[in-house]
Symmetry: C2
Subunit: 187 residues, 2 copies
């Protein structure tokens, strides 16, 4: 198949913030002509699907300024420089929900928006949850409401577009799939 | 539950390109203190899961400059101003794969990266596909390889992280779930 590589001719940085960096790249396209790409660089993130012993899920409601509304998501946060992904996952779970996980298992990873960003998101499943009396606080600019919902309630929140982001919709669908697999095995 | 709204105090635009716009917003946080948010504005996008009569899927390999590699995805593209989402879906399917769909049905929508972007992605399922002799060309800076794969092959590509983006991983999981639902009904 055709080689699709786009070689960088020059790059320009327009913005460098706490979370993202925006650069444009002039590129040589596969046919030898030139083009331009807009790239949002991001340090990567982890998300955690926390499942209580009861089977209920721990979700967080959070105001998302880009959307100008609050949505309900699985806990998540960006990876700090040189921080191990599993450490990030445990830290974010504790900060956002006040729980620690007895077991934390890797589920999957994906690029959230590869057309314009390099953000790579890693999802973990957290079980054997224990609520801490005193836990690490949220970052000073973070405010969340915690929800404990059944899978059916979560599916309703997806229907209502209260759950409305890629990682959480994926995680809910994953649980549905696991449930059906168990049903098929039982029959 | 607590009101989590973050009111905008002032906004600054740092970059406005063909695809994204980057702004920062100083905000009043729920506790009355102030904070700052980095926001990547995006016009929104559609993706299409094209299923052939044989059950095979049509996927496209495309170089993603932010990742500096080619990955395999379901066809997708950004929504043009004032363009209807279904029209965008039909147009992108034709441009990227040379096929038109007899039926195009809405599957779901989600925000890809709500922590820093307002990109909302709408996914459609395309069936009754017909290959056109002459079809709309790709944009002049787009180059893709077309793949026709079974669901099992697609699942292997997910394992190998050749399929590695949110919308495509979600779409493959959706097909797995639909297959299991059918199996359960048949038993």
């Amino acid at each position: 198949m055709r080689n699709l590589e786009e070689k960088t001719l020059r790059e320009k940085t327009w913005f460098e913030g706490r979370v993202v960096k925006l650069v444009t790249a002039d590129v040589e396209l596969p046919d030898g002509t030139t083009g331009s790409r807009e790239i949002v660089k991001h340090p990567g993130a982890v998300a955690i699907l926390p499942i209580c012993d009861s089977g209920k899920l721990l979700l967080v409601e959070q105001y998302r300024k880009p959307l100008e509304k609050a949505i309900v998501e699985i806990p998540a946060g960006k990876i700090e420089p040189s921080e191990d992904k599993e450490i990030t996952a445990a830290r974010e779970l504790e900060e956002e929900t006040g729980h620690v996980a007895g077991t934390l298992s890797y589920l999957t990873s994906f690029y959230t928006a590869p057309g314009f960003s390099d953000e790579l998101l890693h999802i973990y499943v957290a079980r054997d949850l224990k609520k801490l009396q005193h836990h690490r606080p949220l970052d000073e600019d973070e405010f969340v409401n915690i929800l404990e919902v059944t899978l059916d309630e979560a599916k309703q929140l997806v229907e209502q577009q209260v759950i409305h982001d890629a990682k959480t919709v994926y995680a809910i669908q994953y649980l549905e799939l696991e449930n059906l697999k168990r049903q098929l095995e039982d029959e």
